[in-house]
């Protein structure tokens, strides 16, 4: 995956470039809004990571300029402004995801990978499959092997989201945002409890677990070891 990080703080930018390269991605860096815009237009990037406050051209205006020119590269906005309103403003300006600072790299990585997959990914399928687990989005049927599983509506949506991003790390915050549509930070481990309920329904009694906990990051659904 090719990434462009547009961030004016040298240290954060270096850290991000290094961290992304370590997990096997190609990351470039631009230090201000104008440079970032030029590089984003020139290079063929999979995802842009844009700081909201930048010298010479701020992040939102950069995204606006890109979108005006028909560039649809997915953009993740990083911002010290973490309130719901700022998020809405960022997404309205053409951003695809919004992550308030300070963030954990695991969170950023998970979100960037989801964004890169979204681009040019296959058209929305009606049936998701992971191993012998099958989820039909139209009939709301979930089958593992030969057994039909009974899921609560919310469990179904949780599984649907996980399976949509099968093989990718999904963080707790991403689940809270996308499955429950809450943007606040619960002080307790609510999501973990929902996951463990779901896990007991889809993995209990089967040899091969599909729903994995990724330490320090979140969860992933996948078939065996990749």
């Amino acid at each position: 995956m090719r990434l462009l990080i547009i961030e004016d703080d040298r240290e954060s930018a270096d850290y991000l470039v290094k961290a992304f390269r370590e997990v096997g991605h190609i990351a470039d860096h631009a230090g201000d809004g104008e440079e970032g815009l030029a590089m984003a237009e020139g290079g063929d990037y999979d995802v842009l990571v844009v700081d909201r406050m930048l010298p010479r051209r701020d992040g939102l205006s950069l995204i606006g300029a890109l979108r005006d020119k028909g560039n649809r590269t997915p953009v993740l906005i990083l911002s010290a402004l973490g309130q719901v309103d700022d998020r809405i403003k960022g997404l309205r300006a053409g951003g695809d995801d919004y992550l308030p600072k300070p963030y954990s790299f695991a969170e950023l990585l998970a979100r960037v990978e989801v964004l890169s997959r979204r681009r040019g990914g296959p058209a929305e399928e009606t049936v998701y499959r992971v191993g012998d687990l099958e989820l039909d989005r139209l009939s709301h049927r979930v089958v593992r092997g030969k057994d039909e599983l009974t899921l609560q509506p919310r469990e179904f949506r949780l599984l649907e989201y996980l399976m949509k991003h099968a093989g990718q790390v999904v963080t707790r915050t991403m689940l809270l945002e996308n499955v429950w549509d809450y943007h606040f930070d619960p002080q307790t481990n609510v999501i973990d409890v929902h996951i463990s309920r779901l896990r007991s329904k889809i993995d209990k009694g089967f040899d091969r677990p599909l729903l994995h906990t990724i330490r320090g990051a979140g969860y992933m659904i996948r078939d065996g070891i990749r």
Partner: protein, 479 residues
Amino acid sequence: MTAFGKLIRTTAFRLTLVYLFLFALFAASLLGYFAWNTRRLITEEITQTVNAETLEITEIYNRRGLLGLTRAIEYRALRPNANLYLITNPSGVAIAGNVGSLAPGVMATRGWSEAAYRRIEDADDRDHRALVRVTELPNGFRLLIGRDLDERRRLFGIVAKAAQWSILIVVVLGLGGGVFVARRVLRRIDAMTGTAQRIMTGDLSERLPVGRSGDELDRLAENLNAMLERIEALMAGLKEVSDNIAHDLKTPLTRLRNRAEEALAMSRSEADYRAALERTIEESDGLIRTFNALLMIARAESGQGGAAEDFDAADVANGIHELYEPLAEDSGLVLQVEAGPARLHGNRELVSQALANLVENAIKYGKPSQDTPDAKPPPILIEARRVGDLVLLSVTDHGPGIPEADRKRATERFVRLEASRTLPGSGLGLSLASAVAKLHRGELRLDDAGPGLCATLAFPALSGEGLEEQSSQPETHPA
């Protein structure tokens, strides 16, 4: 600025000057009008008398001839306070009358004129003025009849004097009054300014002096005092908050630093380092959460609620119930929801978070005491309902509750009641809920559920509520 300079710059003094000018002008014009009218009246009277006498005397001359005329003139001239009479023959020589000398040329012109004259019997050699009428009698004789204008002049003098005095009195009284009022106002303003300056230098407990007259300055002082009261309360709040922040953020920061130092000094293996780093990340995540909560409270308290919309509190209750129900079950509790339609206007996300905080508290602290371990515990109840003009979102648990004395304190930032000190938490949950309620012009109430705590978010309901049947149902499958 000198004291005098200050005085004459006061509004009261300037107003006085304006009034002074207006009153003086008024007095002068009144007296002027009076004088002018009096003068006209006197002149009119003189004219009438002279005209009548001229007619009479012309008649006498016509009937009795020159002799009769001179005799009548001599007679009339001797009467006290007599008019002026003079008869001249065709060559201009005086033949009868009481006029000694006359300004030259007066007799030559017929009709009315004002002339300087002297009476024959006048001892002084002062000229008098008179209004005279000269008529020509048959045979070339001329008759002058006139009236002294002294009376008119004297009256005019009196009026002028009255005008002088009255204007002088107006000016003196006006200036004196102006200075008195201005000084009085100035003294009070100076007192206020002095107090204000002392307040600005830091003594917020000072108050402006308030008199007993209840005038506009007193009302102003009262209002300013009320404002100071509010500012002082806010400042006290701010100070308390910053003290709390200093304490509650520095403590975990110190812990964080100590752990890092300890890891540097003591760790021997990679596993040790890993464990220390993981704890560090955990600790800093906690700090970030505290920061976010503080920022959110600050925003809500300063009235920045973000995007507002109309929504149903029942949906919020159902949503939060759905999110926390498994967690409650894991903690050995039952979470139930009873939600009826109750629409309100506000920030759905913030209201959801406020309710989530109350539910988290209920799950954390709301465990019934362990007397009857086998019995099924009474459920924690989330309720959404409309009561009158209010939308109530409440969470009732059956734990130990909060003692009445502590309830007010419980919503303050960082306050963690004794009973909860040992459990994890930032002490900001109820503060945020309370701030969100206030932002929506509502309040957070903490009541006794006997035993237990009933925490209620009360919001003003949306007026013109439309009943929406589906909103009272638990959330259905959205996919």
